[in-house]
Symmetry: C2
Subunit: 231 residues, 2 copies
């Protein structure tokens, strides 16, 4: 909490203003879509003149990029937090689900913009983020494989497919989560953690190939689209 000099206090003010602008921009983008939003809409939301906004940013796309880059960089820190959890791979996967849920809940508007307006970024900027998004998928996939080696996760599981299932479940929450609901983000995150772990776990003594599928087998040749769904 130590003392702060006049210099750091001064340096912080514009930084804080910048954060306010990013928050406001994210909200306007989220509500109306990036393409339908003008710099003027954002200035109005912040409560400053359009001209003053240009002191902080140089274009609407810069704002979008800053929001998306910010979410992306902070989300990568979730991986560090997960690595720091003491325990086996299954425990780490549970922690990851809890951490990532909480993160997405707390950054609901910004993650919505991330996923919904990503396509509006310039190709070059999009490529930078896309390359790094793989880090996320690979992290979860590798944890699943580690859990399989540790005899904690069912060997029948395709780690790549399970990783994307888990990430999808967690990334989807901006569609429905709102703060102040019946259950807190922390409680919901725990329920998601339970689901992820239960969906993956299997003890070597109980393992019989195909046992997860055998829990609720469908009729042989079950094809909901009569063969129209081939790709």
């Amino acid at each position: 909490m130590g003392e702060e000099t006049t210099t750091t206090r001064k340096a912080r003010a514009p930084r804080r203003r910048e954060q306010e602008i990013l928050e406001a921009a994210a909200e306007v983008f989220h509500e109306h879509g990036y393409e339908s939003t003008s710099i003027k809409d954002i200035a109005e939301k912040v409560g400053i003149l359009k001209g003053s906004l240009y002191y902080y940013i140089s274009s609407k796309e810069d704002l979008l990029y800053e929001i998306i880059k910010g979410v992306h960089e902070e989300a990568l820190r979730n991986l560090e937090k997960t690595r720091a959890v003491d325990g086996n791979a299954l425990k780490k996967l549970r922690a990851f689900a809890v951490i990532h849920f909480r993160f997405n809940a707390e950054n609901r508007v910004k993650t919505a913009v991330f996923f919904q307006d990503f396509r509006s970024l310039s190709e070059e900027r999009r490529a930078t983020i896309v390359d790094e998004r793989d880090i996320y998928d690979n992290f979860v996939r590798d944890l699943i494989r580690e859990g399989q080696e540790q005899g904690l996760i069912c060997p029948d599981i395709d780690a790549k497919v399970a990783a994307i299932s888990i990430l999808g479940m967690l990334n989807w929450i901006y569609h429905w989560y709102r703060p102040g609901g019946e259950q807190s983000a922390a409680e919901l995150a725990e329920a998601y953690g339970d689901f992820v772990v239960a969906g993956l776990a299997c003890r070597p003594d109980d393992h019989v190939p195909g046992h997860r599928r055998a829990l609720a087998p469908l009729p042989q040749g079950f094809d909901p689209f009569n063969g129209n769904g081939r790709d």
Copy 2:
């Protein structure tokens, strides 16, 4: 296959053209976003003149609405298909996961438009669809409760939270699924079905309250955001 009259054949041609226009519009919306797309872009994609397009539709928003309404109505048929599956609630949930995955994979571009450009619909039109979207959530939630009554699904599970987890996992696939990948949509759908069932199933003989959480317990008071995440 009965004979068809000249009248029905004639009536079908514009209908087919309309479908072509909807497919083209969905692709352009998906690629560039609804707001950045003009009627001219769509006409170019179909390969007809802008003026001719107006023979089929009266506005860009009509096109968006037709795409979204189409996805929505067809998706509701998945519920019928699920109900028709012979078996207990767990089997029906597995079937639902398989059916809904396959549906989303086959309608990848249209479901992407559904989820990404939904906010661009007029308020009135949005309300109609939103009301009916609950049918979906409720359907899955009720199946989970039924499975709990049948002693097939863990009684610790909050059916509402589990339903939205499952739907999120399945709805997310437009972000990553592409036809022609390593695994077919049918194979991926089965893997999703396995995950859903394994995440829910529990036999009364094996049930001990909290056993799913106990599979990978986190340290007491685990709080990845140091209490900043309260809502």
